[in-house]
């Protein structure tokens, strides 16, 4: 985002006389177009230079709002356009939401020329690869019960029963701490096991943060707690193999696995023009 013509979200000046909103870069022919509805219902187009195109739309201000519903709607529209571009041209190199270039289509062509090398490297690295997301969740109450079967914890529970009030209070607190430690240890085990099994099928693998569940669909609609969430960059051909690796995790009692994708590689897209 250090490109001088590029406006970042933090830019205080909301009005731009003429600008181009950038969705993503793709490999495209000179006459390429894209039939998709952009932000505020505007049409999008593909500006191409020498085999690499950017999906753009004319804008005269940045997209900034205090209204979360509106922002969410924008994000979904942005993703929708990137999805369409992926379907039409193969794996896109998505840009961050609200990436705007000050100027017209000719400016975009200049920008394409300027960043040709970086764009080509990124697109060829991403070609045929997509982002997949894996989330493991479990019923923590059930896990606590099963962890509590441990002899050490059972003995402690018995001591709580037999103790007088003050001592019982401390012992119970100790019990809860140990239980939480065991649950955390098991969570780490599941996570490490998952990473180990998936690693060989992925080009890259990341722990995904707690970000809003725009990708993962609606979470929190049941009583399950998250064990871990990973993002993988993988070849399309690895999709089935990843699914197979996930089966044992899904078969565990009280445990559920969500596997989504292919997504445009949002988590793995390098920033373009940042090295200047």
């Amino acid at each position: 985002m250090t490109d001088t013509d590029q406006i970042s979200d933090a830019d205080a000046d909301l009005d731009i006389e003429e600008g181009r909103y950038l969705y993503c870069a793709v490999y495209a022919d000179d006459d390429a177009g894209l039939d998709a509805e952009g932000l505020d219902g505007e049409a999008v187009s593909v500006v191409v230079r020498d085999g690499i195109g950017v999906v753009v739309q004319p804008v005269d201000s940045v997209f900034d709002s205090e209204n979360l519903t509106e922002v969410r709607q924008w994000l979904l529209t942005h993703q929708g356009v990137v999805d369409e571009a992926g379907a039409a041209f193969g794996t896109p190199l998505p840009f961050r939401f609200d990436t705007i270039l000050r100027g017209d289509d000719a400016t975009v062509v200049d920008w394409l020329a300027e960043n040709r090398g970086e764009l080509d490297d990124a697109l060829s690295w991403l070609a045929g690869r997509w982002e997949y997301r894996v989330e493991v969740r479990w019923d923590e109450t059930a896990v606590e019960e099963s962890v509590g079967e441990d002899e050490d914890l059972r003995e402690l529970a018995a001591r709580v029963e037999d103790a007088s009030e003050g001592t019982g209070f401390l012992l119970e607190s100790q019990y809860e701490t140990r239980l939480a430690e065991r649950v955390e240890a098991r969570r780490s085990e599941v996570e490490a096991d998952l990473v180990e099994r998936l690693d060989s099928h992925a080009v890259e693998l990341q722990h995904a943060g707690d970000g809003a569940g725009v990708f993962s669909g609606s979470g929190g609609d049941d009583d399950l707690q998250r064990v871990t969430r990973l993002s993988l960059l993988a070849d399309r051909e690895a999709e089935g193999a990843i699914g197979e690796e996930l089966e044992p995790f899904a078969e565990e009692p009280h445990q559920e696995v969500r596997y989504t994708g292919p997504w445009p590689p949002y988590s793995f897209a390098p920033e373009i023009g940042g090295g200047e």
Partner: protein, 102 residues
């Protein structure tokens, strides 16, 4: 960067401040509890001392619970703890991600 809201509802800074105080007290009591347990486990305390310490901590915890209920700040305290938790969790997650990728 996260910041912690004391007056989410307008003009409610006093109850926000109380909630913060209670949150800090809760964390302090929990730290004391852990220390008490550590000493109990390492055999530094006599059964009488354990009983007295446990009873005191239990009484303080009950007192805090009562303040939270009578002042109606249970939710705010929960929120503050959640904010603190997620600050810490973010940091932990970052370290974990870095380790996993090494």
């Amino acid at each position: 960067m996260k910041h912690i809201e004391l007056d989410e509802e307008e003009g409610d800074a006093a109850s926000g401040l109380l909630a913060l105080l209670v949150t800090v007290m809760e964390l302090l009591v929990e730290a004391m509890e852990r220390e008490a347990i550590r000493r109990m486990e390492s055999g530094q305390l006599s059964p009488e001392e354990i009983e007295r310490l446990g009873a005191q901590l239990q009484a303080i915890e009950a007192e805090i619970a009562e303040i939270k209920e009578s002042e109606g700040i249970e939710q705010e305290v929960g929120q503050l703890r959640g904010d603190l938790d997620s600050l810490v969790a973010d940091a932990v997650e970052q370290v974990r991600a870095e380790e996993a990728l090494e």
